[in-house]
């Protein structure tokens, strides 16, 4: 419904609210904020048509810092609030910022239902693998054995893999990026913004206070070429400092091959297709993080077309109205079995 308009006059600072940003110095949330403010003018949407909804958590303070319509809701419920808004107002561009506790713990149900319903929402998960705002308890994405205030002897929970869960819940757009790779982050935000349907974007976000360094391996200059693999549409899965390693599929398992080993060539590698109708391919990507020997994929895992919930609602209303004519209250009142009293 959101028709692209010319918004070239909009600038990042038009999206900056007058509130002081209150995250801890060094928090990964800052880079997401400034990236969003850079990406929004590129989406061809009027400033007043953006709405930013959030739950509770550090990441959920986001709307206060955006000079758009916004709501800081209650813990875990942002996807449901956003769903109501989008169904009521398909003309708006509705974004949600949420944390791993907010979306995956208390908000898990709304998350999976938003995915399955394919409502045209952008869900940006700030995954810092910790409860930031409540000062450091392990979250559903924390690794097993994590020592925190609520797990002084190590957590005993096996974590969720957010992208796997989204895929299991039928999400039509699944992507991952890093707070520190600003260029990629912006590209992904743009892609999420352009997708029609529930767009799930996981951002690996560093919490400097309670879980500092969770993603250092993926962001450090020295290591990132070996630990991260960028998915690019139509391209073979290549990584490594010199792009001399790749991912090939063995049975259902992705394995690393060395292109210099004299045995393998680029032809052996898996070629990325984000539009693959089957979610199996992206499920393979999502599970690569289970294996320390494999690089962690970032990029768009999956992006397929499917009627959105809000479109379907509108379509149905139009169809019924076409058939029955616009509802008239007087006739509704007087419909059915009536009788007269004189």
């Amino acid at each position: 419904m959101t028709n692209k308009i010319d918004t070239t006059e909009l600038k990042p600072k038009d999206f900056q609210s007058d509130q002081d940003v209150r995250w801890c110095p060094g928090c990964g949330d800052y880079s997401v904020l400034s990236s969003v403010q850079k990406v929004f003018p590129k989406l061809g949407i009027k400033k007043e048509d953006f709405v930013w909804i959030a739950g509770i958590g550090c990441s959920s303070r986001f709307p206060y810092y955006m000079d758009t319509y916004g709501m800081h809701g209650i813990h875990g419920r942002a996807p449901a609030i956003a769903t109501g808004l989008k169904v009521a107002r398909p003309d708006l561009s509705v974004w949600v910022s949420t944390g791993d506790g907010d979306l995956m713990s208390i908000g898990g149900n709304h998350f999976i239902h938003a995915c399955r319903k394919n409502i045209d929402l952008k869900l940006i998960l700030f995954n810092n693998q910790i409860y930031g705002l409540t000062k450091g308890q392990y979250s559903p994405t924390s690794e097993k054995g994590k020592v925190t205030k609520s797990s002084p002897y190590g957590s005993v929970d096996y974590p969720f893999n957010p992208t796997s869960l989204a895929l299991g819940a039928e999400a039509t757009f699944v992507a991952r990026t890093l707070d520190r790779d600003v260029k990629h982050l912006q590209e992904m935000l743009l892609r999420a913004g352009e997708h029609k349907g529930t767009a799930f974007l996981e951002v690996y976000q560093n919490c400097v206070i309670f879980n500092d360094g969770a993603y250092t391996d993926y962001t450090d200059k020295e290591t990132k070429a070996e630990t991260i693999i960028k998915l690019e549409q139509g391209e073979p899965l290549l990584f490594g400092k010199n792009f001399d390693k790749g991912i090939k599929i063995d049975g259902f398992n992705p394995v690393v091959v060395d292109l210099n080993d004299g045995v393998h060539s680029i032809e052996d590698l898996l070629v990325h297709d984000e539009h693959d109708e089957s979610p199996v391919r992206s499920f393979i990507y999502s599970h690569m993080t289970d294996h320390p020997e494999l690089p962690t994929p970032i990029g768009v895992f999956r992006q397929i077309k499917r009627e959105t919930y809000d479109e379907a609602v509108t379509r149905q209303i139009e169809a019924v109205t076409d058939k029955k004519g616009e509802g008239d209250l007087e006739s509704l009142l007087f419909s059915g079995n009536t009788w007269e009293v004189e």
Binding site: D49, M71, A80, G325, E326, L333, V341
Partner: protein
Amino acid sequence: MAQEEKNGKPIEQLNDVTVMFAGDSGDGMQLTGTQFSDTTAFLGNDLSTLPDYPSEIRAPLGTLYGVSGFQLHFGATNVHTPGDNPDVLVAMNPAALKVNVKNLKPRGIIICNSDAFDAKNLKLAKYESNPLEDDSLSGYKLFPVPITSLTVAALKDCGLKPKEVTRSKNFFALGLMYWLFNEPLEPTLEWVKTKFKNKESVICGNEKALKSGYYYGENTQLFASRYKIAKAKLPKGTYKSISGNEATAIGLIAASKLSKLPLFLGSYPITPATDILHHLSKYKNFGVKTLQAEDEIAGITSAIGASFGGSLAITTTSGPGLALKTEATGLALMLELPLVIVNVQRGGPSTGLPTKTEQSDLLQAMYGRSGESPVAVVAATSPSDCFYMAIEASRLALKYMVPVILLTDGYIANGAEPWRIPHVNEFKEFEVTQRTDSEGFQPYDRDENLARPWAIPGTPGLEHRLGGLEKANITGAVSHDPENHHLMTEIRAQKIENMQNSIPDLEVDGDSEGKVLVIGWGGTKGSITEAVNDARKKGMKVSRAQLQYINPFPKNLGDVLSKFDNVIVPENNMGQLAKILRDKFLVPVIQFNKMRGLPLKTFEITEKIAEVLGGKND
């Protein structure tokens, strides 16, 4: 009681009658009852109904817990309840007889399907011997009719399967009742034709069953007399029979039209509220958007989202669902967004008695949220009043930018009554302003009612942020300032108090001062009215009032109460309104409380009135 002759049978004229149709859940008793009500209403009687069905979908045949009943009270005057005790019981099997005979009036009529009184069914109903044959029913007028076999015989040429044939026996019973109460078959025959258009065999079966029941009455010498109930003196107009849930649904649509706002419903199914969702989802051509949410929390939070977006936003539920919505209700009140929460009360606590009625969510509606969190609470007093109170709830929510809880209950939600249909032009349009002017805009600015402006996304220049953290008054910035918090707490309470200026005063039926006032709220109106009328007939002097507005109370309530020596508060709970009255007015009210999952019995209230009047030696 005038007597009249027709077809050789004397016709007795009655003022009002209560009939109970009872059978297995698969016996079509709800349909039979509804048809009978519709015809009765069509004839100009006033009426009130009480469907009562098991919580099982199709409980195994013949069991006591599988009995489904439909009680109907109709008459020329004084019809405000479905009746304390039936005059006539139609029992399709032993279980139906067993469950219901204890409520029947002494000397009441029992019509039962004698075919169903076989050994198996008697055992299922835990009868030691056949009550049609032993003497146990000698206190009643018993009419055993072989309904099944007569129906089978009548329908043999319709081309129906045996199962379909026996399923038509309810129409035989209905026909017999039409004969007994001197009512025409035509309305039902019409209905059958429309409903089963193109299903000739079904039309045939229903017609034949209905007619054979009627002729059976006419031809047999079973009944000594027939009955007739005079037309009620009802205000002139076009009427229809309406249930509370239906009335709520179309009341909300009316509110949407009156406010010129699109209607959004976020809801999760729960008995007895689900029918509102069912009704509203039919009206897509009114632009109504219904979202069957994943749970109650998503039901209300999606409505909050829609309200932010500028819709008239609704969520509907029953007790346990309201419990789940409390956190989000707190959010809506903090955001100061309009929201209507419809709670159709049922028997609690917990899952309780889900298909039974009760008024026990009042305290939850008033106080069931964290922090100081006043919301408006209104209640509907009858099935058709649900229509008006749905409009009122919406009007108040939009005018004061607050959540409003509308309380109805299982009894008025499922029960039906004749309703004089109002015309659209009888209603004032709501004055709703959605802010468009950015000049001087402040999100928590206040109008004369203390309501803040509603500025919806898509409006250029009004971009702002709402949230559940305490807000600075006027600017809406997050504020931890102690004095601001106290102020905002007062403002949120004051907004609700201010509503007193736009709600009607409480009307007293009867003298405005005296020895006894009986005051109720919501769905007990029928029982209390009938009880007070009965008491008056017995010479007692007693006044009556029924609250529709509970938070805030009508302005004159304190005054009203102060004019009576005794205030009796009958409630279908353990005294929840009584608590609030004592708190607000320090009056030592006299409670009358029953928790039986049923509407209050009229005669018990009348007894209470007598006791209070008699107990005072003056």
